[in-house]
Symmetry: C4
Subunit: 264 residues, 4 copies
């Protein structure tokens, strides 16, 4: 598949023009190829690492317009290529639908971008490490320094609180806005019986956070099964680390190389 | 191995005629190649994902005759090719044995097709996530929305209740009928100390159900080891989701691509 | 590596003559190539499945002489080829050492062959699923029908009982004889803080037993962590299944294909 | 990537001269190619086995000068090649920086080499098996004979004891010296909420220790979740085994072959 990426990138050289709009929405214009390549790779990386299954999704805010975001058409993350990327407005309407299926839960992304001007990337996962913490009363606290960003707390969004019984999908703007409100100013929120949403200042940091949130959750479950009190990362430690976080280049280069090696 | 599939499909073009019957049973006629390809792929997909081990099996009801079903000869699911598929009647007699070995537990399939006219595909697994729930008193309840179909309950079939000590194999029609009765109108039943049986309206949905039943069981075991009450998917949520279930195309395309990539 | 096997097999055609003895022991004569190929494959299969790590080993009794057995020189099982196989007597002396290193724990094999005329294959593993049961007081009971052979009980050999503090290695005949006595007439015995020993009427059955003993142990640990009583396979069920056990051809063909696919 | 290793080794033939120093530090001179190759392979092996993630690191003491050590520039261990290896003094200053980024936690290595003249290799991991034992009150004791070296005790270094809230990184000599003091004369110390540090008389033994420390921790967590008292390797057994430890050649040859097979 990497040949598809390379071929597409060669053709595009340094920018992608979204096809002429077939709706009222004008496009916010071309997106740098490097940003799109990162978005595609984030999909492949999180699929490769088992953090995303067939149904998760990733978006980035449009670099040139805070009122647009970019996300694949409805397709498994492990299969996403450049050609699948679409532009949407913050009400999660596509600029140019071109007959494609959209993720029914795209409202997660649009509503978070509305509520959080600092957020440039959003990831929604069904990560199997975190789901047990979404249905029990034990809080998902950081025990590993690479997940210290969780020190601010990890809210659990319960759709039943505001909406009663639903299909358990964030399939409209109201549900998305409720989830965004639960997330508040945090990097991660759990969705009860569903997964989590992870945000960041760029897609590489959001990817790193999705990976380490899952890994921290697995190790915390083991620590709890061992028994006794668990010594968590303190808020003071977390705050110091927030000022000088782990370098996402280190993880990105490794995880990218692992994906490319398998696809070669 | 995929070359075998491709070669076989090319030769058949769009249908497969089962070889002339060597028994009294007449064949129900050719099966569309797409249906057979899905059956073969379901075997490979579930083997690839570790849901089927060397001894599980998958069948589909004959598209043209509700009194016939199609299943591989006795061979590990990870090795099944088109040429291994056989036609059986609902008493699990082969239309044309051609000297081949049959699964001794094929009666699971025949008896469920008799009892459940809505069922078009049956999967029997030794899935390691579910077996612990077949031997403990904790119910396998859904905690993950993609497994919400479990909200109707997951019966545990205990062969000792009706049959005393056995070889723990469903190797005749009486045992198969007992299992089918335990399954009732549900999508999944556990078999104590053995595995589970998963049914669906087609093989793609049944495959998805087998995967998410196993995944839900693993996450529930983790939630239980964390301790405290577990917040399950409610019957009301499950019922709403049943009307608009997860799209099996998304999982199928991904899981198929993963299998083909490894076999290339 | 499979090319090494094929090349070696082509050269040998149908038998292997062990090189002229450099010690007093005469060779028991050539071994059928198929038996040697199974021994080599069993090493690769159990390494591939994670049942053997760098230090385990597998032997078969010499088909032509009950007082000889065949085992690789001291090398990780995942790297064993035909050329590594050596012939030893039941005191675990090599017929022809040829300057090679031997497993220091080969006495496990020799002493079991002395004590158990029915046994034709012996496997010693450090299988990570079973070791927790060698150091706790919970018995390793069968909960899965493919491991029903454990119904006769799984002794735990404690080297400290007869020998006090040791290096925890079965590095002489006395320790080997003690282990063989603990095994008695059973198919599997655990070695405290070390692993297990698994025997069978041939190497394919012993391989299957080693795999399902490990898998059963992992599922039992999960069942115990879920809590409450655990419903085990009954002695009556186990005895019935012993008379008609799972077909090792099914597992062997799959596991062999998996190994060959990776080595190609 | 193995081609990179081979090409580099061919060019170097049997030694590597570190480039002319751009700082006041003189180089301790060339390092045998075999030593460097082992260092590179240890990085790949521990990445392949999941013991090192993107952020761990490995060093060896300079064979010709006890006041120098060799370690990769700041890069994920799974991507390390010969060209990344740098020479540092025991205050962790590079002999020739050449514009490269250094691991911020290199002081772990320098301070341990100062405190432990017997140590020739140091590994720092975020090994997910051990981290739960760094945040609970259950001691990481050996239950598996291949991890018997843990019988002397596994200290847990708590940075908060001496330094209060920090970024949880060993990013200066004082923190490194504190960790080295906690390690004392032991082979392994845990770092609370972070990982561990593993030392040895050479990089192959240190690699083996890092692997079996992680594996022992995972099995101990399972044993604890099963419940009841756990039967550990006794100090007397551990002391006997220390005199005749497991042969690291066996593991090294296997793990190296596994890495090369995947990189081919």
């Amino acid at each position: 598949m990497i040949r598809l990426i390379v071929a597409a990138l060669s053709a595009l050289l340094c920018s992608l023009s979204v096809a002429p709009a077939q709706t009222a929405q004008p496009s916010a214009g071309p997106v740098p190829a490097a940003a799109l390549e990162d978005l595609v790779l984030a999909n492949r990386i999180l699929a490769d690492r088992g953090v995303l299954d067939a149904y998760g999704h990733i978006s980035i805010r449009h670099p040139a317009d805070p009122n647009r975001y970019l996300m694949a058409r409805a397709i498994a993350p492990g299969l996403v290529t450049l050609d699948d990327i679409m532009e949407l407005d913050l009400d999660s309407n596509p600029v140019a639908r071109r007959g494609r299926s959209l993720f029914v839960e795209r409202f997660i992304h649009g509503e978070i971008y509305k509520a959080r001007p600092d957020v440039m990337a959003v990831i929604h996962t069904h990560s199997t490490g975190v789901i047990p913490f979404s249905v029990t009363q034990k809080e998902l606290k950081p025990i590993f320094h690479n997940a210290s960003f969780l020190h601010v707390g990890v809210p659990v969004w319960e759709s039943r609180d505001g909406f009663g019984a639903t299909k358990m999908l964030v399939n409209d703007g109201k549900l998305g806005a409720s989830l965004a409100a639960a997330l508040g100013n945090k990097p991660v929120a759990l969705m009860r019986g569903h997964g989590d949403v992870v945000v960041g200042p760029n897609v590489r940091v959001a990817t790193l956070r999705a990976v380490y949130t899952d890994e921290n959750a697995r190790m915390l479950a083991t620590a709890l099964s061992i028994g006794g009190p668990v010594n968590t990362v303190s808020p003071a430690e977390g705050a110091l680390r927030d000022k000088d976080p782990s370098d996402p280049t280190r993880t990105w280069e490794l995880w990218k190389a692992n994906v490319l090696k398998k696809e070669h």
